[in-house]
């Protein structure tokens, strides 16, 4: 009997390990549970407030305001310029086909990046907008240069963006010149690839890759990146295409949430 009582005590360390691992695995499986999400939302509110305070102290308020106004104007103009360039290319293509289509415009909500989380393959940023700004999960996030990511989690006042270079992020891409479709996926080491493009497809270095519009999340025509390398491996089904993302994810401070097509 004494040996039976002694048994759990002798292996108490392993019992503790089993318990904590079971709890961790259980929580991993319940990530989409509403109570866990509610708890995370509360924590995000506290953390977001703290991050905002930290951000505020790091800049002078008057200069910051003026800087923000100028930056938003610059972003708006850069975005407008980029849309005009795309419209020009599209116009050429449509004229060749002897058809005219209406270019869709998007309703954009500006937001500021107030925090970043880069841990291993996990890349995310924190924004200062939430449910109170009428945003919801899975809305696309862009900047003046191109696609930034999508809203992975939305709290009351703050939101988390899963960045396009997060290892689990996927987006349907279209080579603007040749209309070849593929799937943009990040690789390890800050690289990005256009995958599932059949071998010998018409893709060249310098080609612009945009969103294809096949996804329910991302509308068509948003800039993703530029092709930097194309390899046709022997005995392979797909080309190996490397991309340089248009958005400078390490330096973004202002982004836009794409609310809807107009």
């Amino acid at each position: 009997m004494r040996k039976l009582k002694f048994f759990p005590y002798a292996f108490r360390e392993y019992l503790v390990l089993v318990v904590v691992i079971s709890l961790s695995v259980g929580m991993l499986n319940l990530n989409s549970n509403s109570q866990i999400r509610w708890l995370q939302s509360c924590v995000l509110s506290i953390f977001g407030t703290f991050q905002q305070v930290v951000c505020w102290f790091s800049e002078y308020s008057d200069l910051r305001k003026e800087n923000e106004q100028l930056r938003q104007e610059n972003i708006r103009l850069a975005y407008e310029n980029s849309m005009l360039k795309k419209a020009y290319l599209e116009n050429i293509r449509l004229r060749r086909m002897l058809k005219l289509q209406q270019k869709s415009k998007y309703k954009l909500l500006p937001a500021s990046v107030i925090g970043r989380n880069y841990k291993g393959f996990s890349h995310a940023v924190l924004l200062d907008i939430g449910r109170q700004n009428q945003v919801k999960k899975d809305l696309p996030v862009i900047c003046s240069s191109g696609v930034v990511g999508k809203l992975a989690f939305v709290g009351e006042k703050f939101s988390v963006v899963q960045l396009i270079d997060d290892i689990n992020f996927r987006i349907s891409g279209l080579v603007q010149r040749s209309r070849v479709v593929g799937v943009v996926k990040p690789g390890p080491g800050n690289e990005c690839y256009l995958d599932y493009v059949p071998i010998h497809s018409d893709v060249r270095t310098g080609d612009l890759v945009v969103t294809s519009g096949y996804s329910k999340i991302f509308p068509k025509g948003l800039e993703i990146g530029v092709v930097t390398e194309v390899h046709n491996p022997e005995n392979a089904l797909f080309e190996k295409i490397k991309l340089q993302l248009s958005a400078n994810l390490g330096k973004i401070e202002e982004v836009f949430i794409v609310l809807q097509n107009q």
């Binding site: 390990l17 708890l39 996990s122 080491g189």
Partner: protein, 161 residues
């Protein structure tokens, strides 16, 4: 075990991790000061307290870190458990051994974390090991050794066995 004291130290270190450590990023790699603390607690207070502390600290990191809830809790608790496999006497004033212990623990932690996070994303194990686990573990161990060199008294417990 003085829970309040260790809790306050954790809060201070976590604020450092959020505010100061991002300034030390090199080619996308940054050290994990919380992991250093978890390993330290595991050696100082024993395996059970180390494992439980790793679980709790990892869980708090998960909630504040935008990722999968439970992932840091799993990896840090497991790493704290494994850390105790090294003899306590290996620490002390011997910085090289301390660095090696931190490096091994860092490799285990970062490998597990990135393996689980990228599960199903088609990332090879070789990439996980050589592009993330080893560089991050190396950086973490260097920071740990630096801390021990600047504050040698924090390892005094290792000599008093």
């Amino acid at each position: 075990m003085n829970i309040l004291k260790y809790g306050l130290i954790f809060i201070g270190l976590y604020l450092l991790q959020l505010t100061f450590i991002p300034l030390l990023v090199v080619y996308g790699i940054k050290p994990d000061i919380i992991l250093i603390y978890v390993v330290y607690l595991s050696f100082k207070e024993g395996r059970i307290w180390g494992t439980v502390s790793g679980f709790l600290m990892g869980l708090i990191e998960d909630f504040f870190g935008f990722g999968f809830i439970g992932l840091n809790a799993l990896t840090k608790s497991f790493t704290a458990f494994i850390a105790h496999a090294f003899p306590r006497q290996i620490l002390g004033k011997r910085l090289l051994q301390t660095g090696i212990v931190l490096f091994c623990c860092g490799c285990i932690h970062d490998f597990l974390f990135n393996l689980i996070y990228s599960f199903g994303a088609g990332v090879s194990v070789v990439d996980i090991v050589f592009k993330y686990a080893i560089p991050t573990a190396l950086y973490t161990s260097l920071l740990g050794v630096l801390i021990c060199a600047i504050f040698p008294k924090i390892l005094d417990f290792a000599d008093a066995v």
